[in-house]
Structure formats: structure tokens, C-alpha cells
Assembly symmetry: C2
Homo-oligomer: 232 residues x 2
């Protein structure tokens, strides 16, 4: 764990402000008084499905993979979180074991919020509670949309959709390459299909001039066409 690269409180404060828009400076201070900022290298397991956690995380930097393990150990990716997102709060709030696992998908810097503090803030700051409700409801909307899509769209349509989603969430380089780096296997675990199928469909999309790829670099050549394909 390298501490040299960790951000100072002020920077972290900036980002928190962005996420918890209705929090007063007072409340921000109470959050930041503990300095639970940590660096986690890529691939670190943060918590695991079925276990009880003692807090949740605010992402200062990096990308986090949230997933569930289903049928014979196959992982189902629920979402990727990044700078400004919080995750792991659900099980704390519900006083239940976690129903997902979380792992750093890139090197990350996370701010840890202890369960007691989280619950205290919810109970005592209606601003904080309000922000948390917003966050939970946003996720809920995303989930519902995703249920419909996974149930009704073809794998190819979902592939197009996920590619656009990743572009939207994590951005693309000037040359249209997705900024997030993801294996075919993870792509298939996100979409809910077999790895080989993703590969085949990806190469179909190549011949149809919508994407281009070498290795893990995926370029979205024609987002508009992808959008129509995805049914958006």
C-alpha cells in the first residue's frame, strides 16, 4: 500500500461535495475527520457476497467492479463504479450480508465510510439521507432498465448497448477508443452470455464497420449505428 500518492483532504472534499450535493460544510467535515483514505492495487477484493461488511466506500479514483456469483461460479457484473460513486451501502443500510462482491478493476484510491458513521449521518442529517435516497433510486432505475433489456433484447443488441454505456460512463479517447479496459470474458459476464459469443458478435460488428479492436482496445467507429442497433 503506497501512501505517497494519496490525495490531501481538500481534494477529497471537492469530490465528496460533488456527490453529496446537499451536504453542509459541517457535515462534510464530520465525514472527513476520519482519514480513511486508502490505495488499493488493481484486483483487490474489497468485500465478498454473503459476508457482513463494516462500512462502504467512496471512490476517489479508479474503477470498481461490482458483481455477483451465480450458477457454478460464473460472475455476473452488475456495474462498474468510478470517481464520485459510493458502493457497498446497501447491505449496511439493510443490516444484511452483502449481496454483491466488489473488486478494484484498476488501481484505486478509496475513502472508507464506517457503517456507524453512515447510519449516523442518515439518521441525523436529512441532507445526507436525501442524497443517499437519490443515489439508491438512481441505481434502482438503472437496474430496472437493465432487467428489461437483458430479458428482451438479443445478445448483439445488448452488446451494442453495453459498449455505448461504457463509452458514456468512462469516456472515449480522441481516436474513439473506449477508455475502460475490459476483457472479452468480463464483457460477457456483464452482458450475461458466453465469451465466445461476445468475440463472434464483436467481429460481426467489425465487419459491419461499427467497431474496431485490437486486443483490449475497442474503438466505437459509428456510435449512431450502434445506437440504432441497441434500440436506443
Amino acid at each position: 500500500m503506497s501512501t505517497g500518492t494519496l490525495p490531501d483532504i481538500d481534494l477529497c472534499c471537492q469530490k465528496l461535495k460533488h456527490t453529496f450535493t446537499s451536504l453542509s460544510s459541517e457535515e462534510l467535515k464530520s465525514l472527513l475527520s476520519l482519514r480513511n483514505i486508502c490505495y488499493y492495487p488493481k484486483g483487490s477484493l474489497l468485500y465478498e457476497e454473503g459476508t457482513r461488511t463494516k462500512g462502504c466506500y467512496f471512490v476517489y479514483s479508479g474503477i470498481i467492479k461490482i458483481y455477483q456469483t451465480g450458477h457454478e461460479g460464473k460472475e455476473q457484473i452488475i456495474k462498474f463504479d468510478q470517481e464520485g460513486d459510493i458502493f457497498g451501502y446497501r447491505s449496511i443500510i439493510r443490516h444484511e450480508p452483502a449481496c454483491t462482491s466488489a473488486k478494484t478493476h484498476t488501481d484505486s484510491i478509496l475513502y472508507h465510510i464506517p457503517d456507524t458513521l453512515l447510519m449516523h449521518l442518515i439518521k441525523n442529517s436529512s441532507n445526507f439521507a436525501h442524497d443517499m435516497i437519490q443515489i439508491a433510486c438512481k441505481e434502482l432505475g438503472d437496474s430496472n432498465r437493465y432487467i428489461r433489456d437483458i430479458a428482451q433484447k438479443s445478445v448483439k443488441e445488448r452488446l451494442a448497448e453495453i459498449l455505448l454505456l461504457l463509452a458514456e460512463d468512462f469516456g472515449i479517447e480522441k481516436d474513439k477508443t473506449l477508455k475502460i479496459n475490459i476483457t472479452r470474458e468480463e464483457l460477457s459476464n456483464f452482458i450475461g452470455t458466453a465469451t465466445e459469443t461476445v468475440i463472434r458478435l464483436l467481429s460481426e460488428l467489425k465487419t459491419e464497420n461499427m467497431v474496431e479492436s485490437k486486443g483490449r482496445q475497442i474503438k466505437l467507429l459509428n456510435p449512431e449505428k450502434l445506437k440504432t442497433l441497441a434500440g436506443l
Copy 2:
């Protein structure tokens, strides 16, 4: 709209207390001071995807179907709500158009909570906010679980799972018949498959002695066996 059968305030209060466990009597009163209790016959459309609503609902009695319309108008059922549940709050909280539609699945009595009151309570009562967070997080957990299942399980496994879910949520008669009345088409819209497939699989389950059915009456003869099949 029949008013004769409407419950009095006290009864409604009982049920509200059950849902909003941390609400003070004061707060309950403010909720109940408006008497927006209405009867809706089976099949009434309460709100529709894409529109803005002016409030959410608390279910006094009856069953409500929450769904989305996907691909070429096929409906995807997200959940059924019943006595004690609230629905329609997501879009209010997010200040967004609804992302689902809601329709009464049986004759129902609903208590309407105007958007302004909902937001007022969230902003000013940390108890209420706390309860709402609980509710949203519960839904979120259900959705995530469902994403994994729909992505990874076979249709037959999901059918078994949904049957058990319906039994759990709505109960069964002494003779093991599901209390909720649901067409094969709705079953397929819930599971995310074709109606014919549901019918075929249902009759497989019959020959395997797990269920029995005539018309819309579905009996779960062997819940244990169903559980194993569903992978629970």
C-alpha cells in the same frame, strides 16, 4: 368508483405504521390528514412509463403490477406490489418521468401521497427518510438478484423460482394453490420468455409432479423439489 367500501383512517393508519416503522404518530397524522384514499377496479392504469406523475401510492389492499414496455411493445413485469407496499416514488424522488407503468392487477384500494408531501417528509423527517432508504435498498437488492438470475439461469429454473416467489409473497391456500391469479402470458412477461415456452415448461413440471394446474389455478405440489430446481 365505490366509496362505500373504503376503509376508515384508523385502519389505514395501522397499515402505514407497519410500513414506516420509524414514523412518529405526529408524522403519521400529517400523512393521513389528507384523505386521498381511492378504490380502483382491476385493470386501472395508474401511471405510465415516460410521463410525469404527481405522487406515489401506498397499497391499502389489492395487487399492483409494475412493468416496463420493451421491444415491440412486449411488457416486462418488474414486480407485483401488495398491501403495505409503496410504489411510484422513484420518479418523484429523482424528478424524472416514470420509468415503469403501474396497473391494478386486482381491485385495489390505494392511498395517494402527493409529490410535495413525499419530498417534504423526506427533507424534514429523518425517520421517514430512513424508512424510504430501507425500502429503496430492499428493492435494489431484489433487482440485482433478479439480474443475475435472468442472465444466468435457464427459463425452467426461473419459472420455478418465480412460482416460489409468488407463493412466498402472496401465499398459498391450504390445498397449495397460489393465491395470486396470473395468466400464462403474464408469467412469461415476468420471466422474460415466450408464452408457449411457459406453457410447455409448466406441463413438464406437471409430469415431474412438482406442480398441478387447471386454468389459472396453479398448485405447488412439491416446493422443496422446486427449490432445488431453481437453485435455491
